[in-house]
């Protein structure tokens, strides 16, 4: 039994506004391959009287929080947020996958969900002479957990630092003091822990007098921009900053990148925040680079299946990872490089590429890495 008060839940989440049109489920990338059906879930909650039993609803953990459902709903219902809140009922009872438990505990203890020691957070940057953020420094570079610890994504962080240094922008970072933004914690349904993280990070930003910041990950960017209470801090994803740097001539490329590139829109940049143009502006600003589009691009971009805590969860149908379909779509364009701008997308897509044995035809790269090559 995992009973929730469904009437109260439906009121809080505006589910009574639903007209059962199915636009959410029709666009849901998971609905095709698992039993997740947001429309049906809403209907069950509505007709349940006052109690709904979540027992056995394991498909709630399939949701990647890609926001396709909420961005298309004609009645302003947000099925994604409802799913996140329902996960909360599992979390409250401690009924979560061991991986999730580990990620939550690690975030609580070490400030990252990856079970890595805090001291090692800054190792990737030891030779880069990045100054610590302090008063008077223009930008805070919020690195994020995956770029700090994952050896593959550390390369992205390093490239990004070189680009920003090249553009002569005044920035600093928090080094060991940086803690997880909590984006995935919130999406795993651990609202209490997220609240704590927000409080601590807000205090830190205030104490450091941060005015402007940029992030490596669209997930951190979205958390600070939309999940945190308004704090007056101007937060950008690095692609926005680079696009502006190019436009104003702060950043200039001297090399060439003679390759055909297609761009995979990260959900937390695109569907969540409507940022479609800036990453493309950076790519098309690279001499020699030819940008081609997949059919599913921008608002229709296919999720890589790495969001919503899915980096730690296989989901109920692990046989068909969306990232593999995505690799096929990229291959269909004839592109040599599949570019993205998100640590999670980078990892899931690269993993899928290996799985498809297509490494000789395609490379997965972050925009920062491509740009770094032509400095």
């Amino acid at each position: 039994m995992l009973q929730i008060e469904s009437r109260q839940f439906a009121t809080t989440h505006n589910l009574f506004a639903c007209i059962q049109c199915g636009k959410c489920t029709g666009g849901c990338p998971m609905a095709v391959k698992t039993t997740l059906n947001p429309r049906n879930l809403i209907y069950r909650l509505l007709v349940a009287g006052n109690g709904y039993d979540l027992e056995g609803r394991e498909e709630l953990w399939d949701c990647t929080t890609c926001a396709t459902c909420s961005s298309r709903c004609p009645k302003l219902v947000n099925p994604m947020e409802a799913v996140i809140a329902l996960r909360g009922a599992f979390v409250e009872k401690g009924r979560v996958h061991p991986n999730v438990k580990t990620a939550l505990e690690s975030t609580f203890r070490h400030g990252n969900p990856l079970s890595m020691p805090r001291e090692e957070r800054v190792r990737w940057a030891s030779d880069l002479s990045i100054k610590p953020f302090g008063e008077g420094v223009e930008y805070l570079f919020f690195v994020g957990c995956t770029p700090s610890y994952d050896p593959r994504v550390q390369q992205v962080a390093r490239s990004l630092v070189k680009l920003v240094q090249h553009a002569n922008l005044d920035f600093g970072f928090l080094a060991e003091e940086e803690s997880c933004c909590g984006s995935e914690i919130r999406r795993l349904g651990e609202a209490g822990l997220f609240e704590m993280i927000v409080e601590e990070n807000q205090e830190m930003l205030k104490a450091m007098s941060v005015d402007k910041m940029f992030t490596t990950s669209p997930h951190c960017f979205n958390a600070f921009k939309n999940d945190y209470p308004q704090n007056g801090v101007q937060v950008e994803h690095y692609t926005q900053l680079l696009s502006r740097a190019l436009e104003n001539g702060w950043l200039k490329f001297s090399g060439r990148f003679e390759k055909t590139v297609t761009f995979h829109d990260p959900c937390y940049l695109g569907k969540h925040n409507g940022i479609y143009d800036e990453p493309r502006q950076v790519l098309t600003g690279i001499p020699g680079l030819k940008l081609v589009e997949m059919d599913r691009s921008r608002e229709k971009s296919l999720c890589c299946e790495g969001g919503g805590g899915r980096m730690w969860l296989e989901g109920s149908n692990p046989g068909t990872r969306l990232a593999r379909w995505r690799i096929q779509e990229a291959l269909d364009t004839g592109a040599q490089v599949l570019a993205t701008a998100c640590p999670f997308c980078l990892l899931t897509l690269e993993e899928a590429l290996k799985h498809q044995n297509a490494e000789d035809k395609l490379r997965v790269m972050d925009i920062a890495e491509i740009a770094d090559q032509v400095l």
Binding site: Q20, C21, G22, K23, T25, G26, L76, R296, R298, K300
Partner: protein, 581 residues
């Protein structure tokens, strides 16, 4: 002989609306004690026949020359009581109202302070009443003509009806040709009649009518005046013309929703995705897509309608039947073609619509319940991805032609026209009728009426109905030949006026002009609506508004400021200031 006011005060209980929180007995006694008050009475419903009879009898028997009724808002019953005093031989402007319901009993709890406020309001009304002057209500001639703005099917019909009744009509159409959106249609529902057959006779009759002047490629740029005597400045190419009209019918129509906004459907990106409007043109060319006849056609309903994420929460009312009619057309012309309609709800509410929906299904059109989420490319074809909500399954339906059933949106320039005529618009952006049920063709501006889709989405039949309704309403002032003008208007005391023109700058009715010889401002009593803006703008106090003169207003204020217990007033202040907003 000096004028001696003899005032009667009538206090209404309004059932218990007033009497529940105001001590009526005390108020009546207080009113009777006021200077110049001959009699004060109270009654359950003063607006009822017996209530009015009390007033009339007293006027006759007690020789009252001024009357004050303390009851509801003047918006509610001022006309009632003015008529009552007039029928007893008093000038209707010798009447004053104290609003002790909306401004007192409804907004304050029952208390001594509330009763005191009712007393203050009555005292203030009595003070004004002593200074009231009879005014003469005048009638002005009505220009026996109408202006119809918009030459779509609604505008054409309205113009024709008014002209047929014997009045001159000017029809102003922005485009080079009349006919509006109906002219773009191929066939109509539910009787599959060619749109041309409906529109052409109407256009020909309008064109040939001796009393209709059609101005094409023309735009209304300014409208002055009021019911009975509007003056519109119409621009036609480089020329400006003045058109006078007794009443105006607005029939400016709608815009079709821009399908590019729904990115997930790829309109403009996939050549196989078209709109219901594109389909009309395609029907005329026998439905060829890239030189082939389509084999799999999918219609998507509610594109741009019932969609709060776009700010278009309303149903566009025609798309269900338009898609049904087009689907039937495909089945008839291309019997080999599979036709699917994705819908959320089928709205077949009009006469003959449900029967038509039956025909469309039985001719082989498949209705699938679900609002498609996206359209993807698959080779040369498209995949429409949706949840079939009846199956509870995600489906991908192959299509070589997808038709988006587009909704209607307000015209982008409707805000400009609204400000030109001081019209209201409802939350959806369409022009607002004066009352959603009882006054569906009227606007809040006297003499201005609405016809067709400028007021909200509707089909041809409903547009014609509303057009004929608007035409009939617009003819009322034209048939009467005269309209009453407000007597409480502004006047200028010429010896005080310096002719500076500040009053003319604030007048929104264009009622003030500089006299070319006397060099003072003059008020056009027909155009003036008595709003008082000029009187407050005048630096030398030369402008006065009748019925709201300086003496009358000061008498009221004096009573309110000095007349009663300040302590009690303080208690009432918070709500009183709230009401002022």
């Amino acid at each position: 002989m000096a004028f001696t006011p003899r005032i009667g005060v009538y206090i209404c209980h309004c059932g218990i609306n007033i009497s529940a929180s105001v001590d009526i007995e005390a108020v009546t006694a207080f009113a009777a004690s006021l200077p110049a008050v001959i009699i004060a009475r109270d009654y359950t419903y003063m607006c009822s026949d017996p209530g009015q009879a009390l007033i009339k009898e007293d006027i006759e028997q007690l020789k009252l020359n001024r009357v004050v009724v303390a009851s509801c808002s003047p918006r509610m019953h001022e006309p009632t009581f003015r008529a009552a005093v007039a029928s007893a031989g008093l000038n209707p402007y010798c009447f004053e109202m104290a609003n002790i319901r909306e401004q007192c009993s409804w907004v304050h709890p029952g208390s001594e302070a509330t009763t005191q406020k009712a007393m203050d309001l009555i005292a203030s009304a009595v003070a004004k009443a002593a200074h009231l002057q009879p005014l003469i209500t005048r009638q002005v001639e009505v220009s026996p003509s109408a202006l119809v703005i918009g030459g779509g099917i609604a505008g054409l019909q309205a113009a024709l009806d008014i002209a047929e009744a014997g009045f001159q009509v000017t029809l102003v159409e922005r485009a080079e040709q009349p006919g509006g959106h109906a002219a773009q249609l191929h066939t109509t529902f539910p009787y599959m009649q060619p749109a041309r057959e409906l529109l052409r006779p109407l256009m020909e009759r309008v064109d040939a009518h001796p009393r209709i002047e059609v101005m094409l490629s023309a735009e209304v740029e300014e409208i002055k005046g009021f019911v009975g005597n509007f003056e519109a400045s119409v621009r036609q190419s480089e020329e400006m013309r003045t058109v006078s009209a007794g009443s105006i019918v607005i029939a400016t129509g709608f815009e079709v929703f821009d399908a590019h906004i729904k990115k997930e459907f790829g309109y403009g990106l996939y050549p196989q995705v078209i709109t219901t409007l594109d389909f009309e043109l395609l029907s005329a060319q026998n439905l060829q897509v890239n030189g082939h006849s389509p084999r799999k056609v999918v219609f998507i309903q509610c594109v741009g309608s019932r969609d709060q994420s776009l700010g278009n929460p309303y149903c566009s009312r025609v798309c269900c039947m338009v898609a049904a009619r087009q689907a039937k057309w495909v089945r008839q012309r291309l019997p080999e073609a599979e036709v699917t309609i994705f819908y959320m709800d089928v709205r077949a509410f009009g006469k003959g619509f449900e029967e038509f929906y039956d025909q469309v299904r039985t001719c082989g059109v498949i209705y699938r319940r679900g609002n498609p989420s996206e359209i993807l490319r698959q080779g040369e074809h498209l995949l429409v991805r949706a949840e079939d909500t009846l199956l509870g399954e995600v489906v991908e339906v192959e299509a070589d032609l997808v038709v988006l059933a587009l909704g209607m949106v307000p015209r982008q320039d409707s805000a400009a026209l609204a400000s030109l005529l001081k019209l209201s618009r409802s939350a959806d952006g369409f022009f607002m009728e004066a009352h959603p049920k009882l006054r569906p063709v009227d606007t809040s501006v006297a003499g201005v009426f609405l016809a067709g889709c400028c007021q909200g989405p509707k089909d041809i039949a409903d547009s014609i109905s509303q057009a004929r309704g608007a035409a009939a309403a617009a003819m009322i002032p034209l048939l009467r030949g005269q309209v009453q003008v407000e007597a409480a208007t502004a006047y200028v005391e010429e010896e005080l006026c310096a002719g500076c023109g500040q009053c003319a700058q604030v007048c929104t009715y264009g009622a003030l002009r500089l006299h070319p010889v006397r060099n003072v401002m003059t008020v056009n009593q027909v155009l003036c609506q008595g709003c008082g803006a000029c009187a407050s703008a005048c630096p030398s106090g030369a402008v006065t508004v009748s019925h709201f003169t300086f003496t009358q207003t000061m008498a009221q204020l004096e009573v309110l400021l000095n007349g009663s217990n300040h302590q009690r007033k303080q208690e009432l202040l918070p709500t009183a200031s709230l009401m002022a907003k």
